[in-house]
Amino acid sequence: MIKLIDLEKSVRTGLNRAWILNQVNLEIKAGEFVTIMGPSGAGKTTLLNIIGMLESPTGGEYHFLDEPVHRLNERKRHDIHKQYMGFVFQAYHLIDDLTVYENIETPLLYRNVKGKDRKSIVADILDRFSIVAKKDLFPDQLSGGQQQLVGVARAVIHKPRLLLADEPTGNLHSKQGEEIMELFRELNEEGVTIIQVTHSEKNAEYGSRIIEIVDGNIRTDEQVRKSASVYGTK
């Protein structure tokens, strides 16, 4: 599904060039549940953003479902991003002026899903995540864990094939964190490929593979167990 070849990301700092990612080679198959770990400032978020097409690499190749992303134009990249990917953030990043229901519904609006279908899809997910009672509340009326539940619901509402999560439990205490991780496991079992960044060994155990990044390089890459998903094709 994802193939990175000699990927690099550098930024100018004054006269010098600083490499945030350097010579990253990586292949991730559909159905995997990958955990990225590493010290602060190692480049984990940057890697995730590049995979999620929120940032562009400065060198190397990025293939997604056999499409050479590094050669595609902005519009095409946006289309792939929109069709296949969902994002979960450490700081939840819900839209403050929209209710829970409206936040979850918004991705469907951008995908032109018709009103009736939209209602039933949102209703299903509210039900599944047990947040029906909260649907008319605004984000600042929810606890962190509840907000992150909404964040995950919003990320998967359009059934993405790839879920990218940057320290999704970083702001939560362990009980809430576990709830989110359980959800991830379920989603992964349903066939969603997941890449998460985390500092927590415990969270890492939910995954099938752990990649450790240090100073913009992949230090270790180990398969902890067989990929849970059987639906993956690539």
């Binding site: 929120l54 994002f87 990043h93 929209l98 991705p107 951008y110």
Partner: protein, 790 residues
């Protein structure tokens, strides 16, 4: 999706109600002035456009040979001749006017009577409300609603009798046969009472002979079969020049010109002896337009500034929307739609405001009558849509295109700190302050001019002076005696054309040149009563009988224009081709009509009471009303058949002053709104800046910075920008005020840097008051709060 946008917009703005309210009101008022500017333009543009056959109708004007100026009058026989003999002319029509006394037996007043024939109503679309038109019968008349109400109140005027010329031997009773709708204000032809041309009398009390080439009609219209024949027909009319010029040797015509009915009102300002109306003063249209545009700009820019300063909050939303699938295009649309929504609300507010304002605006100017009517008014609707889109674009384009371009990762990493104080918003602030200053400077310039009009030395005594119009010597003698009887009356005098009642212009020959000058025959004592100062030579000597026939005074202007290289005293002037006078003195310039008109070269002769037109009475100011009442009672006793036409001297200057006060008022309101808007902008910029730099400021304070240094740190760069705006706006304001004053008044106080100084002081004080709150907040904030709260 729209609903989603709408909810976000609604909730977002609801959290910033005050900001939004100020902005919507500002935009609303700005849009209202744009709408008024448009309506004024349209009103002016549509002058005389309501006649179905208007395309075919042309007015004949005469170009005089000696000065090549266009005159509204035309030799009377031309109409009949053109109709009979000139091919392409389908019909011809004469329209005449007289200011004459009319009476219903009870009320008597001087009115403007129009003389024409039945065909007038086939030519022009002036609707008859009731009765019929029978102008072929010279014993009938039709009147306007306004006149009907004045003389007959609520009772039906049709069938009633009005007497015209009750003060004359040839007085005549007319049967009112029809009631006409009042003329629209933007019509060159204005009537009150229309009757047959047969009822016209000339100066010698004889019926007017329309076959007389020396008789000039007020307006002659031709109806052409084909409007394209305009040039050709005016060439054909040249055939009548020889006969006219032979018959009327002292009024030689160079040629005739045809003015289309549809556009003539816009050329009427250059037309002399024009008995028809004219379009709006151009400054009225461009002044309003300029004001509308400037206000709209200020208000839209303020909106932009608000969007930018509030966008810190919106950034996260923008980033999130991009991550969850929104394209940049969709985000631009979302932000533009928000702008459109606000503009739409503002337009609603603006239209309500216009609706409220229009009656008041119409009342300010007698020659304006604007209405906001949407039905069957596609141009207005199109204009509103255009304004709406423009506003939206100015207000929302910058935030929409700029903010939507940010990368979500940049936003989430907190690298995009987009709030307030970027270069763009500083430029906006400068522009707003500049616009406010323009309005302030103009407001002060007109305030100064109002003072000038009230107090300036205008060359004659205006306090304690009143005048009554008198028709003949006998009336003069009786009223003069009545006035002298009153103990408070200090002096009286007679004059033919009183100051303020535009004296006629005549031709004067001297040094083998002919010049047109104003002509003012005065009675004994008039110069003393009016306190007109002598500059050189001597004044009239009332004992000297030759002074009545041979001596003449000229004004300073005359001397300056035509006697630069020599002493005018002793020079000989010839009036009316035969009467010779010697210049015995020069008088100081004085305002002859009002401030709208220039001071013109003038001659004064001494005349006897048989030529008087006014009785002028001088008292203490406090006694004026009492004396007026005394005279009014005396008049009613002896001359009940004639109207008592009374003027206070200040009445003549009142219209100039009213115009000035109106403009002053408009600019004050404009300045107030612009200032309010720009200060909101300044406030949001400074308080945002404070928010961003609170921590820095606090640390500096702990390190020992003085309050003045903190104040400087927070506001210096805004104040510099505001100062540049102030300077540029001030200079533009001065230039603009001068242009406006020049276009309205021939005599005015001019502009000085003083207005700029006052405006500058006002802006600086208001700006300091505006930012002082934020600065005090910065200086007094508790350091530990400021540092922890991050």
């Amino acid at each position: 999706m729209l609903q989603n946008y709408f909810k976000v917009a609604y909730r977002h703005f609801w959290k910033h109600k005050v900001h939004l309210l100020i902005n919507v009101l500002g935009l609303g008022i700005a849009l209202a002035s744009c709408v008024i500017a448009y309506l004024s333009w349209k009103f002016d543009h549509d002058f005389d456009h309501f006649h179905t056959r208007g395309e075919q109708i042309f007015r004949v004007v005469s170009i005089k040979k000696d000065n090549l100026q266009a005159f509204g009058v035309c030799p009377a026989p031309l109409a009949a001749a053109a109709k009979a003999e000139v091919s392409g002319v389908q019909d011809a029509l004469i329209l005449e006017f007289r200011n004459a006394v009319i009476s219903n037996g009870k009320d008597t007043d001087r009115e403007r009577i129009s003389f024409t024939e039945n065909a007038f109503f086939e030519w022009f679309d002036f609707p008859l409300l009731s009765g019929q038109i029978r102008l072929d019968d010279a014993a009938t008349a039709v009147i306007s609603e306004a006149l009907a109400i004045k003389y007959f109140g609520t009772s039906d005027p049709v069938g009633q009798i009005l007497t015209i010329y009750p003060d004359q031997p040839f007085q005549k009773q007319l049967l009112i046969t029809g009631l006409l709708k009042d003329t629209p204000v933007n019509s060159s032809i204005q009537y009150e009472l229309l009757t047959s041309v047969e009822n016209m009398y000339n100066r010698d009390n004889a019926q007017v002979n329309l076959k007389d080439w020396t008789y000039l009609t007020d307006a002659t219209f031709l109806m052409l079969k084909n409007p394209e024949d305009q040039e050709r027909v005016s060439r054909y009319l040249e055939a009548y020049l020889p006969v006219q010029n032979q018959m009327h040797s002292d009024w030689q015509i160079e040629k005739f010109a045809l003015q289309p009915l549809n556009t003539m009102a816009h050329h009427a300002d250059d037309l002399r002896w024009n008995a028809l109306g004219q379009s709006l003063p151009p400054s009225m249209v461009w002044g309003m337009t300029l004001m509308g545009i400037l206000l709209l700009l200020t208000a839209s820019l303020n909106f932009t500034n608000m969007s930018i300063s509030l966008s810190g909050r919106r950034l996260k939303e923008i980033g999130v929307r991009k991550v969850i699938g929104g394209s940049r295009k969709q985000l631009i649309w979302q932000l533009l739609m928000e702008g459109l929504l606000i503009s739409l609300i503002a337009l609603g507010v603006g239209l309500l405001f216009t609706d409220w304002l229009l009656p008041r605006y119409n009342q300010m100017w007698t020659f304006v009558d604007l209405h906001l009517v949407f039905t069957q008014n596609l141009p207005l609707v199109a204009f509103l849509i255009a304004v709406l889109l423009t506003t939206t674009f100015i207000a929302a384009a910058y935030p929409a295109f700029y903010i939507s371009g940010f990368n979500p990762t940049g936003i989430f990493r907190g690298k995009v700190k987009f709030a307030g104080a970027n270069l763009f918003s500083k430029i906006l602030l400068g522009a707003q302050v500049g616009i406010s200053t323009i309005a302030l400077v103009a407001g002060f310039a007109f305030t100064r001019n109002a003072e000038f009009q009230k107090n300036a030395d205008i060359g004659f005594q205006r306090e304690g002076i009143q005048a009554i119009r008198i028709p003949d010597e006998q009336t003069f003698r009786v009223m003069e005696a009545n006035a002298r009887q009153h103990p408070q009356v200090q002096a009286v005098a007679g004059v033919r054309f009183h100051i303020g009642d535009s004296a006629p212009r005549i031709e004067v020959k001297f040094k083998d040149k002919k010049q047109e000058v104003e002509f003012m025959p005065v009675g004994e004592n008039y110069l003393e009563v009016m306190d007109i100062q002598l500059l050189s030579g001597r004044s009239f000597d009332y004992q000297l009988s030759t002074d009545f026939t041979e001596s003449i005074l000229i004004n300073e202007k005359f001397a300056d224009l035509y006697f630069q290289d020599g002493d005018p005293l002793g020079q000989q002037l010839t009036l009316f081709d035969t009467l010779r006078y010697n210049v015995v003195g020069v008088v100081k310039n004085f305002i002859q009509d009002n401030f709208h008109d220039p001071i013109r070269p003038l001659v004064l002769t001494l005349t006897k009471p048989d030529r008087f037109g006014y009785l002028v009475i001088k008292t203490q100011s406090a006694d004026m009303l009492e004396v007026r009442d005394h005279l009014s009672v005396a008049w009613k006793k002896d001359f009940a058949q004639m109207p008592f036409e009374h003027y206070f001297q200040d009445d003549f200057l009142a219209s100039s002053l009213k115009t000035n006060t109106n403009i002053q008022y408009i600019f004050s309101v404009f300045a107030l709104i612009a200032l309010l808007l720009s200060m909101t902008g300044l406030n949001s910029l400074v308080s945002l800046n404070l928010l961003k730099r609170l921590k820095e400021v606090t640390i500096r304070r702990i390190l020992g910075a003085r309050p003045s240094q903190i104040a400087y740190l927070l506001s210096a760069h805004f104040l510099i920008v505001a100062f540049i705006g102030l300077a540029v706006g001030g200079l533009i304001g001065l230039k603009l005020s001068e242009m406006l004053l020049n276009s309205i008044y021939q005599v005015h106080v001019g502009v000085t840097y003083f207005s700029l100084l006052v405006a500058g002081i006002v802006v600086v004080i208001v700006a300091f008051l505006t930012i002082s709150r934020s600065i005090v907040q910065a200086i007094t904030a508790n350091p530990s709060d400021a540092l922890n709260n991050d």
